[in-house]
C-alpha cells in the first residue's frame, strides 16, 4: 500500500480506496492509476496514430529522398530534392508568398473574429441570426462558386471598383489579375472567413462565468477594465488556440489560391501558396519525391513557429486549471 504523504487531507478517502483495491487484487498507486487512465483514454488516438498516420508520414519521409512519379516505383536519390529546393526560384517565391499571407491574414482575421465575437456577445436582438450570417462565408469555403464570385468582385468592373467609384475614386484596376494585388484579394478572402475563429471565441466567451463579471461590476470596474482584467486573461487559452491553428492553417492554405488562380498560382506566381506549389509538383508534374521533401520542410517550419509560440505562451496565457 502506497500512501501519499503530501495529501493529508485526502488520506481518509485514499485509504478507503486502497482497501477496495486490495480486495480486488490490484496493486495500483494513484499515479499508476492515472497513468493507466491516461493511456486508456488515449487508446483511440494511439490506434489512429500507429495505423493511419505514422505509416503514411514515415512513407512520405522516405519518399522525400526519392524520385517518385506515382506510376512506377520510387528511386532513391538521397538529399537531391532538399538541395534542389533552395535553388528553385519558384520555391523561394512560394515561401515568400506564403509568409506574407500568414503574417498578414492571421492577425487581421483574429482581430475581426474577436471584435465581432465581443459585439455579438452583448445579447443583442437577433443574435442567433447574426452569428449564423457571419459564419456563412466559412460555409462557402472553397467552393467553385466563391472562386467565380471573388474573381468577379475584384475584377475591372466588379463590386469593389464600383464601391470605390461611389466614394469618388476612379479605379479600373483588375485587382485579381494584377500580380501586385492578387495576393491582397486572397488575404481579404481569408479575413472574410473569420467566422470559424469567431465561433470559437464566442464559445470561449460563453465559458467565462457571469459571477466574475458581476463581482467586478459590484467592485466598480468599468467596461474597459472588465475586458482587460477578466475577459482577455480568461480568453487567453482560446486566443492561443486560435492563433496556433490559424497560423498552421494559413501555412497550409491551398483552396483559396487553387480556385481563384485556377490552380496556376498566377498571375506570374503571385498567388503561389506553398502547398499549391507542392500540389503542382506532386500531382501535376508527378515529382512526388520533390513534393514530399517540400512538405517536410513545411512541417519543420511550422513546428518551429509553433514551438516559438508555445514558449512565448508561458508569459501570456493563463489557464484556470493551474494549481497555485
Amino acid at each position: 500500500m502506497i500512501r501519499n504523504p503530501e495529501r493529508p487531507a485526502r488520506k481518509e478517502a485514499q485509504e478507503i480506496r486502497q482497501e477496495v483495491k486490495r480486495s480486488r487484487g490490484l496493486k495500483l498507486s494513484s499515479e499508476g492509476k492515472e497513468n493507466l487512465a491516461g493511456y486508456l483514454f488515449l487508446l483511440p488516438w494511439f490506434a489512429g496514430l500507429i495505423l493511419l498516420t505514422a505509416g503514411p508520414m514515415i512513407s512520405s519521409l522516405y519518399l522525400s529522398f526519392t524520385n517518385f512519379d506515382l506510376l512506377s516505383a520510387p528511386v532513391w536519390v538521397g538529399l537531391q530534392n532538399y538541395l534542389a529546393m533552395f535553388q528553385d526560384l519558384r520555391w523561394l517565391n512560394a515561401v515568400k508568398v506564403t509568409l506574407i499571407y500568414v503574417f498578414l491574414s492571421v492577425p487581421l482575421k483574429m482581430v475581426f473574429a474577436l471584435a465581432l465575437a465581443m459585439l455579438l456577445n452583448r445579447g443583442l436582438r437577433g443574435l442567433a441570426i447574426y452569428r449564423a450570417v457571419y459564419y456563412v462565408p466559412s460555409l462557402l469555403g472553397g467552393s467553385v462558386a466563391i472562386a467565380i464570385l471573388w474573381r468577379q468582385i475584384f475584377d475591372t468592373s466588379g463590386l469593389v471598383n464600383q464601391v470605390l467609384g461611389w466614394v469618388g475614386i476612379k479605379s479600373a484596376t483588375s485587382w485579381i489579375s494584377s500580380p501586385n494585388y492578387a495576393l491582397g484579394t486572397l488575404i481579404i478572402l481569408a479575413v472574410w472567413q473569420f467566422g470559424s475563429p469567431m465561433i470559437i471565441f464566442l464559445a470561449g466567451l460563453k465559458q467565462i462565468p457571469m459571477e466574475y463579471y458581476e463581482a467586478a461590476t459590484t467592485d466598480g470596474a468599468g467596461k474597459l477594465n472588465r475586458f482587460w482584467h477578466i475577459t482577455l486573461p480568461l480568453l487567453t487559452p482560446i486566443v492561443f488556440f486560435n492563433m496556433i491553428l490559424q497560423m498552421v492553417g494559413a501555412f497550409q492554405a491551398f483552396t483559396p489560391a487553387f480556385i481563384v488562380s485556377g490552380g496556376t498560382g498566377g498571375p506570374v506566381d503571385s498567388t503561389l501558396f506553398y502547398t499549391l506549389y507542392i500540389y503542382q509538383e506532386g500531382f501535376g508534374n508527378l515529382h512526388m519525391g520533390y513534393a514530399s521533401a517540400m512538405a517536410w520542410i513545411l512541417l519543420i517550419a511550422i513546428a518551429l513557429f509553433t514551438t516559438i509560440a508555445f514558449l512565448s505562451s508561458r508569459y501570456w496565457v493563463f489557464y484556470q486549471d493551474e494549481r497555485k
Partner: protein, 285 residues
Amino acid sequence: MLQGLPSKEQRGWTRLLIHIIIIAVALLMVYPVIWLLSASFKPTSEIFTSAGLLPKVWTLDNYFQGWTALDYSFDTFFANSFIVCLGAVVGNVISCSMAAYAFARLRFKFKALWFALMLGTIMLPYNVIVVPQYVLFKDLGWVNSFLPLIVPKFLATDAFFIFLLIQFIRGIPRDLDDAAKIDGCNHLTMYIRIILPLASPALATTAIFTFIWTWSDFFTQLIFLDDQSVYTVPVALRTFLDSTGVSSYGQLFAISVLSLIPIFGFFIAFQRLLIEGVATSGIKG
C-alpha cells in the same frame, strides 16, 4: 463607448452605431450567397454575360436538370454525404474528447512527447500523405466505401479538435474535479458526468466544424470513392465542370445552393449548444 458611465443619449447612439456596423458586415458576409442564388436562377448563357443580380430570365431548369444530371439523382448523394458527415461527427466528438481529457487532465508518462506528436500530425499537408494512405486502404479493401472517410475520425486523426478541446478543458477549474474525486468518482465518471457537460460549447464546436468540413471535403472523397452510387455531394458537384467539355454552371450553382442548406441547418441546430453555454454555478470562490 468604453468610457466610464455614458449618458443615455450616448448609449443610444452607440447602440445604433453598433447595429449599423453589424448589419453592414452582415451584408458583406451574405452577398455571395445572394449572388449564388441569383445565378442559380439564370440560364447558363446569362450568368457570365449579364451583370446585375436580378436574372433577366428566371428559370428553374438548373435545379431540376441538375438534380438528375448524373446516373443517380442527388438524393443519393445527399444521403451519402449525411452518412459520412454524421459518422465523422460522432467519431470526432467521442475520440477527440477522450484524447483531450487525457492530455488536459491526466498525468502519465511521456505525455509531453505524445502531445508534441499530436500537434505534429496537424502540420503535415494532407496531399502528401494521401498516397500512402490510399495504398493502405486499398490493401485493406476499404476503397470505394465510406470506411476510409469515417474510421479515421473514430481514431482521433483530426488533431485540430483534440487541441481545441484541450484548451477548453484546461479552462475548466479543477475544483469540481477535486470535489468529485472525494466523492469517489473515477476518471471515466468524471469524464462523462463533469467534463463533457462543462465542455459542451467546445463539443458543439467540434460537431459543427466536423460536419461542415467533412461535407465540403472534396479531395479525400474523390480519391476513395469510385462508383457513383457512393458519391458524396462535393464529388458529384465537381462533375458539372470540365475544361474539355460543356460545363453546366447553372446547374452547379443550383445544386450548390441546395447543398448549403444542410450545413446551414446543422449549424443552426447545434449553435444553441454554443449559446446555452455553461452552468458554472457550482464554483466555490
